[in-house]
């Protein structure tokens, strides 16, 4: 099995910058900060379209994430349906990322302090 080098990661965020706090929710996160690890350039994907759904927020958020080209997701918790959706497209997930800024999460990821999850959390 070949491993694609990771160059694009997404972090659930309460705002558009590296200084904003990580949003521990996935499906109903405010948005995603997308970081290009090579250039450290960031873009922001608003997740408001998922937040307003009565059901299926996690699935919609996964769609948004995949469209943005993310290969890795750093977040607090991913539910079972969003997990299935992310698995289908091979997005790797780190859970339990909370109480820190987006920038801190990126630094920790680059330092290899996170391990990928192998199951949804709820």
């Amino acid at each position: 099995m070949t491993t694609t080098p990771i160059h694009t990661i997404a972090i659930t965020s309460e705002g558009p910058t590296l200084a904003d706090p990580v949003d521990s929710r996935f499906g109903r996160a405010g948005g995603f900060v997308i970081v290009d690890l090579t250039s450290m350039a960031t873009t922001y994907v608003d997740n408001g379209s998922s937040q307003v759904l009565a059901q299926g927020a996690g699935i919609q958020a996964a769609e948004n994430l995949v469209k943005a080209g993310a290969q890795v997701l750093l977040t607090g918790h991913v539910g079972p349906k969003a997990w299935t959706a992310l698995q289908a497209t091979g997005v790797k997930v780190v859970q339990g990322v909370e109480n820190m800024t987006v920038g801190e999460a990126v630094t920790k990821f680059k330092a290899g302090e996170f391990t990928f999850s192998d199951a949804p959390s709820h």
Binding site: Q55, G56, I59, Q60, A62, E63, V66, A85, A88, T89
Partner: protein
């Protein structure tokens, strides 16, 4: 004629009133418990020889060989039951509301009919000959309206067979299940209690049901506790206060033993006979209005 017994607040006495009405109804009647999450009308009416039948919702199943990943189904689905994730079409059957749109829109015929079990539909008959119908939602099933739809189909078939009137014991609340339960009613009977809690939820119920344009009336249960704000609200909205069930120890004890109120004493029987007559008049007048 269809009477739906509803309320905003839970525990006001919908089931007590439904059972009492069914027990003294003059014409042939069908008693329907639409509270499929927690049906309990049978505890009072005690139907016998109950037959139970599994009910299913039609959900899509993907034939991967035929799917060309056009995404039309995923775009159509308002409930995220289908998602196009890159080169993968994913189906989440428990999100499906069963509209069938995805199967119709698929240009390749790649979505076939599958099933999700909703629960069971149960029908029985009391020793007095009142047929009883209910649904029982499968544990883990998230939506009650689809199963209520199956109960409704059965209800219409049973009532048409011998021109029965129908008394529907609706679920509490003012969202989809409650609206589903009252949609066929000729009259909506709101059961409440004369407390700030009763008033708050009666107001919600009135707001939810008022746009349906159906005649509505109010029964106050546990009359004597609380205050007179419910009466004031009824006057303000022109809601007829049809009857009051007093807050009495003997009534509570009778209820606690699973007894039907009309069998407590002659007074209670007369109270509900009077209520039944008023409801019939309201139903007739309501039809007069709609035909005018």
């Amino acid at each position: 004629m269809i009477i739906a017994v509803a309320s905003g607040k839970g525990g006001t006495g919908k089931t007590t009133v439904s059972a009492a009405l069914a027990s003294i109804w003059k014409r042939p009647v069908l008693a329907v418990d639409m509270d499929v999450e927690e049906p309990n009308l049978h505890l009072f009416l005690k139907p016998e020889s109950v037959r139970s039948e599994a009910a299913y919702l039609e959900v899509p199943v993907l034939d991967k060989a035929l799917c060309k990943l056009c995404g039309a189904c995923a775009e159509l689905c308002q409930f995220k039951a289908i998602s196009l994730m890159g080169a993968h079409l994913l189906i989440f059957p428990d999100m499906c509301h069963g509209c069938g749109g995805c199967m119709r829109i698929c240009p390749e015929g790649a979505l076939q009919k599958g099933q999700r079990e909703l629960g069971v539909v149960e029908a029985g008959i009391t020793s007095e000959g009142i047929p009883c119908l209910t649904g029982r939602l499968r544990i883990g099933e998230a939506m009650s309206p689809p199963l209520m739809g199956k109960v409704r189909q059965r209800m219409q078939a049973m009532a048409e067979q011998d021109f029965r009137d129908i008394i529907i014991d609706a679920p509490p609340g003012v969202s989809c299940p409650a609206m589903t339960a009252v949609q066929d009613a000729d009259v909506i009977l709101l059961v409440t209690e004369p407390t700030p809690f009763g008033l708050h939820d009666l107001r919600l119920a009135w707001q939810a049901f008022h746009p349906l344009g159906k005649p509505m009336g109010v029964v106050i249960n546990r009359a004597g506790v609380g205050d007179d704000q419910v009466q004031a609200f009824c006057r303000e909205k022109g809601l007829p206060l049809l009857t009051e069930i007093p807050f009495r120890r003997d009534i509570a004890e009778h209820y606690a033993h699973g007894g039907i109120l009309t069998q407590l004493d002659a007074g209670m029987k007369a109270t509900f006979e009077d209520l039944a007559q008023r409801l019939e008049r309201m139903a007739c007048e309501g039809q007069g209005v709609s035909h005018a």
